[in-house]
Symmetry: C2
Amino acid sequence: MNIQHPYLLFLGDATDPLAVKTSRGIAQWRPEKCLGENTLPGCEISLGLTNLSIEEAVEKGAKTFVVGLANRGGKISQSWLTTILKALEHGLDVASGLHQRLADIPEIHEKAKALGRQLFDVRHATGDFTVGTGEQRTGNRILTVGSDCSVGKMYTSLALEGELASRGVDVSFCATGQTGILISGSGISIDAVVADFISGVVEDLAPSKAANHWHVIEGQGSLFHPSYAGVSLGLLHGAQPTVLILCHEVGRKHMRGLPHQALPDLAQCIKTNLEAARLTSPDVKFGGISLNSSILDQAAALAYCEDLAVQFGVPCVDPLRHGVGAIIDRLSL
Amino acid sequence: MNIQHPYLLFLGDATDPLAVKTSRGIAQWRPEKCLGENTLPGCEISLGLTNLSIEEAVEKGAKTFVVGLANRGGKISQSWLTTILKALEHGLDVASGLHQRLADIPEIHEKAKALGRQLFDVRHATGDFTVGTGEQRTGNRILTVGSDCSVGKMYTSLALEGELASRGVDVSFCATGQTGILISGSGISIDAVVADFISGVVEDLAPSKAANHWHVIEGQGSLFHPSYAGVSLGLLHGAQPTVLILCHEVGRKHMRGLPHQALPDLAQCIKTNLEAARLTSPDVKFGGISLNSSILDQAAALAYCEDLAVQFGVPCVDPLRHGVGAIIDRLSL
């Protein structure tokens, strides 16, 4: 999967900021890829980009129309169809992060085929995958792991990539979820892969590189989430991480979606992840903790980070508040 | 998936006993389901069942024609096609454990559709799966786990089921691989499920039951196999096991297919499986060790089992040599 940019970000008829979360992530992390936004009548949201018609965007060089919208059920709304078809007619590829596939809507499928445009259903995984082997790879790999789902693994990974790049390090971000894929233009939705291939897909995403190269691999789920731990373990083994970074949200009351399931103890979570990682990466190191501390005020967040840093002997930051420089400072670059 | 029996076992033109391993498993574990075997000219193998033509089998009440063959690449051989089509024409459903789907061969697909027959591609997983929750279930569940792939988890599970049934216990076998599915007539190839649903599929396979019911769940892979550990962990969490049984092959030199990857220490393997299982089954017990001791003579095998039994404080048997009664004796039935 290799999605061409620049993008035109389609916000549809969204009235809820959460509905455009994916597009907002793209605009935040890859502003240079985003030519503008495109809306339907009734849309109450803006990402602060120039509002462009499809014709205007094409004239400015747009390559892909990105349906970075989330809604209940993950369906492609009938009200978006005319606009998606128009994007294809004007020469754009179309990428979508929704559950329903563009390729499963006959009008879209047929038009794309007739015109030679590409459709990217980034939440789905297609391709000739191979089974993982655990064979040792060269280069360096950072993997973000979590105490739970949705604790900031993608955000942290992109912040780590940005900080490494700003220091002139040769770094690549490996996306494993739909928003990450749209941000980076490539990757695989790891939870959509057939179970046999979980680790193999990650081995292919982050292959052997030069000794000074760093892959930053976006983690998924948690070894302690009863719904998704299999995905997390296959991802951990396939990543063969040099360094693990633990992500956690302060104040999370239970595992996401499961009121009966307690969060793991952080010390246990770090220990279990390191032990499992050693199967394919015997020398793996624990590199730091990345917190979402949004429920705390600035002073309390800093104190919380300092406490954890002392307890675990690694840097601890809220990437949104403090950046991730303290974590990068401690890597052997 | 609910495959009707009795079966007619198709051995094709096999000349290698390994090629009919799946059918041999069915004949061994479910002789009452097997009406007979059906061969092509050139077949040099027999399972010791009555050789029946399709017409004869149908007359005796056969319901399903089972392509329980393995070959390089897992393809449906052109030389089998006429016979498979004939089975459909004579009123049989067809089940196959091969990688290539019956449903992907147009002649087979069209004939089955036209005649209203069912095709079972048991290595593939189709259906509306749900995400696991880890919610506590009633009844009892034994799960076989492994130091590696192919160490006797299916054999052990079927032996445990047989022993429980012979003692009058209400027991069900839950198949998670293609041979197990053909043996039991239902189940899911867990490694073919989309990664998000691994644990959820197992929750559905072994749902809440009465307090005196036992599910015996066939394990897959190993938490220590870099290719498949994600499958094994999702299966472990979804199984919510009451009792774990560890399966191991004496003398295995490295993880299956990976000469660079050492076998885990058995104590570590037991500990890691129990710790991971506690996420969804806090009171899980370790119930015994099941060995494939075929490289040892009878006396050495017994001595080996006795040593492990003392070391780990649980029964240790080779199910082929000693049966699994010693393990069942120690369960709280």
